[in-house]
Symmetry: C2
Subunit: 706 residues, 2 copies
Amino acid sequence: AGSLWLYRWYYSKLCQRVLGFTIFLILALAFVEFPSSLTRTADVRYRSQPWQPPCGLTEAIEALCMLIFLVDLSVKGYLVGQAQLQENLWLLAYFVVLVVSAVDWTVSLSLACEESLRIRRSLRPFFLLQNSSMMKKTLKCIRWSLPEMASVGLLLTIHLCLFTIIGMLLFTIGEKDEAQNEERLTYFQNLPEALTSLLVLLTTSNNPDVMIPAYTQNRISALFFIIFTLIGSLFLMNLLTAIIYNQFRGYLMKSLQTSLFRRRLGARAAYEVLASTAGQTGATPEAVGVNPEDFLRVLQKTQLHRIFKEAIMQKVRSYEGRPMLADEFQKLFDEVDKGVIKEHPPKPQYRSPFLQSAQFIFSHRYFDYLGNVIALGNLLSICVFLVLDSDLLPGERDDFVLGIFDYVFILYYVLELLLKVFALGLRGYLSYRTNVFDGLLTIVLLVLEISTLAVYRLPHSGWKPKQYGPLSLWDMTRLVNTLIVFRFLRIIPNVKPMAVVTSTILGLIQNLRAFGGILVVAYYVFAIIGMNLFRGVIVPPGNSSLVPNNSSAPCGSFEQLNYWSNNFDDFAVSPLPCPSVQLTWDTPLPCPFPGFLLCLVLGPTGPDLCRSAGCSDHTVERDGGEQLAGIPGRLSALLRPASSGVSGTSKSWRYGDITTLYTGVSSRWSTVYFVLWWLVSSVIWINLFLALLLENFLHRWDPRSY
Amino acid sequence: AGSLWLYRWYYSKLCQRVLGFTIFLILALAFVEFPSSLTRTADVRYRSQPWQPPCGLTEAIEALCMLIFLVDLSVKGYLVGQAQLQENLWLLAYFVVLVVSAVDWTVSLSLACEESLRIRRSLRPFFLLQNSSMMKKTLKCIRWSLPEMASVGLLLTIHLCLFTIIGMLLFTIGEKDEAQNEERLTYFQNLPEALTSLLVLLTTSNNPDVMIPAYTQNRISALFFIIFTLIGSLFLMNLLTAIIYNQFRGYLMKSLQTSLFRRRLGARAAYEVLASTAGQTGATPEAVGVNPEDFLRVLQKTQLHRIFKEAIMQKVRSYEGRPMLADEFQKLFDEVDKGVIKEHPPKPQYRSPFLQSAQFIFSHRYFDYLGNVIALGNLLSICVFLVLDSDLLPGERDDFVLGIFDYVFILYYVLELLLKVFALGLRGYLSYRTNVFDGLLTIVLLVLEISTLAVYRLPHSGWKPKQYGPLSLWDMTRLVNTLIVFRFLRIIPNVKPMAVVTSTILGLIQNLRAFGGILVVAYYVFAIIGMNLFRGVIVPPGNSSLVPNNSSAPCGSFEQLNYWSNNFDDFAVSPLPCPSVQLTWDTPLPCPFPGFLLCLVLGPTGPDLCRSAGCSDHTVERDGGEQLAGIPGRLSALLRPASSGVSGTSKSWRYGDITTLYTGVSSRWSTVYFVLWWLVSSVIWINLFLALLLENFLHRWDPRSY
């Protein structure tokens, strides 16, 4: 009984929410900890010194979280039982992670938060992973498809190597001293560079550029690139999609079946228990079954939703007190699967015929349509002024007419709100979600407009309320106005195919939590590793170049593209530039990759960064040597210099001295990091997502499923 | 009997091949016709005057082709029959296209080939389309999924418009005269430009760049772009994949079933005919059936493969002369479905035990493995020299050791060839496809090496055979050496998962013809239209800038990127730069698109092109007015000027006079062209291909299919 009580308590809503919040808290700590993300911009040139938490603050929160995890682990271990505990790898890993974190935490405190590497940071996503059974299932699904993915990976590698060698041979043909092949010099200079060029081409990111020099010389050389892309991107990359989808097919169905089976099993077990207690009192064979009164007493103690409870009780009463058989008992629980039709509260009854007809008018759907038309007019007026103002300097814009318009529209919205409340009653009004949304918007707009009126007075010609402060009330008003647009989304269910599509998307979102979780875990680990490896690699330019004049930098370089915010200097920034926005694309290799891999790491950025930091080619190695204090320092020093002149500006690096050799090795390390991230986020995760989407859609559209 | 003979003759191999060649011929004419593609490079700066066919040459070929099509049409019409002819829309369209082509051809000849627009050119792909039933089926499949695709398209449009307005409002917030929002100026300047920016972002092509200015100001603004991409690229674009796949599922299965059903029907009909003739001679009920002798006589006249004929005859003889029943008759034809196991000819028999053991050794598969290892060594030696030579100028390279190596390897290959022929016999050797490939390579290599020896003499220290001619024998030798690498592909069937993957790809290629055909049709139409619209838009720079110094051009501009070859000046060139390489990617919007849409059409290219052509802003309109000779001239004049300063160089265009308005309209036309091409090639075709791949793979991996 004690363990049952513990089980109930542990799986209660409150307890699970506390656990979820703890996990969220420990993950969110990364934003506040040492390379703090609390700055307005991530640009290394303008970034202010962020607020640093005092040593011990984040550590105290961490200790609290870990204590909760310890309790969680012991409860889980107790519930699983001694025998299964040793076989449960997840719980063992949980224990190990907790121990390692605790040790690391102690080290951290004893060094007064000055330690260079925090191992426990990269272990944190594990807490998220082990708490969700769906995510564990998805991971298993990925693990099953690994052998096939490895075979495609092998094919891809062979394909890449083959074409690298052919390319390198092809672009040395007919090369003379005075006219070296431009293609070879820029993209096929040496083996690692050629491999990288083609790897990036596989992701189609550098597509026209890598072809241009050779194509300019001879049309036919384009065939090389076309064949490479055909085999690589079209066949092999799509094969990965097919493999993951094949593994994933039936995943949804299987998990549905499993949960149904478990519920049936539970119901049957409950029946056996209840029937045996009934069997003791009256042992006639026809009376074997569950006594409805027993059942109703048990039912009262369960945590089912009130509506389901009532439905089941109603059905139980229909048996009129005779014992229920196993089949009937099972059928009781089918009630839970039936959807609940939400009923809107009745409209208020008005006596006067005038009020009744007014109620009819304002609760009719044509009145909704009118509201939509007015909102469209509001939107159009905003658009028109946007277009008219686009060529004017901010000081020259006249907001008089727009201000008047806004007052008119807000008046209409308030009127609509009031009329609808009148027609439907307040509870009836609030029972529609779309109305809640509209009403909320209207009230926010009303408050904003009134405060605007109070602050700026009535609009007059030449009225320019937007001149005050960074985010003025006036700007807010315009932004909220645009949200009115979302009212149009409620016409979607009226169009049949759009309704299907939208409902599938909405249904998908429920299944998406596990996928989002996996993404968060992968991103977190990569961001922490990247932060440790690449922090401080991008150095702001000296005072001489602080003038925002980037015309002197070579094209395609870091400075010219203004990629100063694309760094790894804190946690919140890593999401954005390269690793994390990337994972939201559905291209095999999204854009930040080349911008990063080519510009930041392998491209001309390396030497340029070095130069802007004031070191010549020959001091690089010594510079790196001095920084070998900790592992992150060493690795970031490894990254610092990078060879290869994409823009042809760093020709002095070509006639390799020892530096080139050294940097050749080091820049490859960062390439490995980015390629790994590409594989995890773009190739695996995006395909997984596509598989989920396909599965959901086909399941919904399958005529047999109804 | 006459129509049967005609039917046989029409579907004979020879006749269909002639028809196929005619279609190929008329499509290939585009490479030779007026903007001829027969130049070495497509770069407008270096391009030589191509050879122009005299007026009447291509027209004569065209007339010949059209005559053949006319015959084809009349035969097809006769075979289909009068009644169905009027319902068969394809045949009617065929007729219309032929008539229009003939009229256009007459006009062309009467104007002495000087006409500005050839309508029949864009109609030509129709001939390819109507000749393939698979392509027609695929088109039907696309047509069925159009309504659902349209609904997703509508969602996409709403999504795009909504975010455009929100973005435009968002990036005017807090704008002051002295510090205008950089994001707004570069990407959200006005409504069409903001739409284009977000449309390109939907394809993730301009991903980090479009975000950078706003992100540099404030981290949180990245959320706008992330949410936009999440909804757009991740959900809506993948929805398109799901829709097309859903429509396509069972497509393969259905077409297999249909062809099986037709064959069964044919067999049954043949049985009825043969049985009725037999029934006339002896009318006893048990003798109802097909007389085997009749059947054998008929079988001799059919065009089945010899092997199948023998298999069927053998089976017929097993009935020992008694009449065959319908079931038995059907089963006869199952023989055709059975695979043919190819038997290798027996090995030659040698008397001497020494020869026998030598034969055993050299026909063993370990000998093959040894050959692979040697080939790997050859490859590695080439790689090593590539790496060693990569930093040297061509004049400094020493090919002595490599030359010696090559002779050693070729000697081994010849030896291997001879030994294998000795062990397997010549016919046995040739019966393996891999051997044929190896042997061919070896002979080519041998011939090349002997000629190298004859031309350059024996290698010595400081030997540099590659200094002669553009493609020297030496280069050829090295290239052929790399082909040796393909010998490794034969280890693939030995690795199980790779064997499955490879066999599926090979099986896929057979199904791919229809898809390739659709792609060719789409590409052809777009290339012709693009050529008519955009020919001559890219003008080579004047003499002053003929020096290959592009450092003065603004970054991201046409000149800086050296995109001179990316033009529409002839047919063969359109494939490569933008429209056609693009279609081979599996990204939603491949790379050339932004390089084209932003750089060539909408970007700073327009004004720059105009300047390099020597016209000021105000002469543009008059310039265009003078060129309004024909429609293509008018449209290309429309394209000529384009506003919007991505690189900030064309600020003088912003304070719109009439030119800006004019160009705003015109550049949008070209955007429409590129967006359409993106939709057809990337969105529809790539998804179709993915659906085909998924279908094939799942069918093969489905445990039920065996």
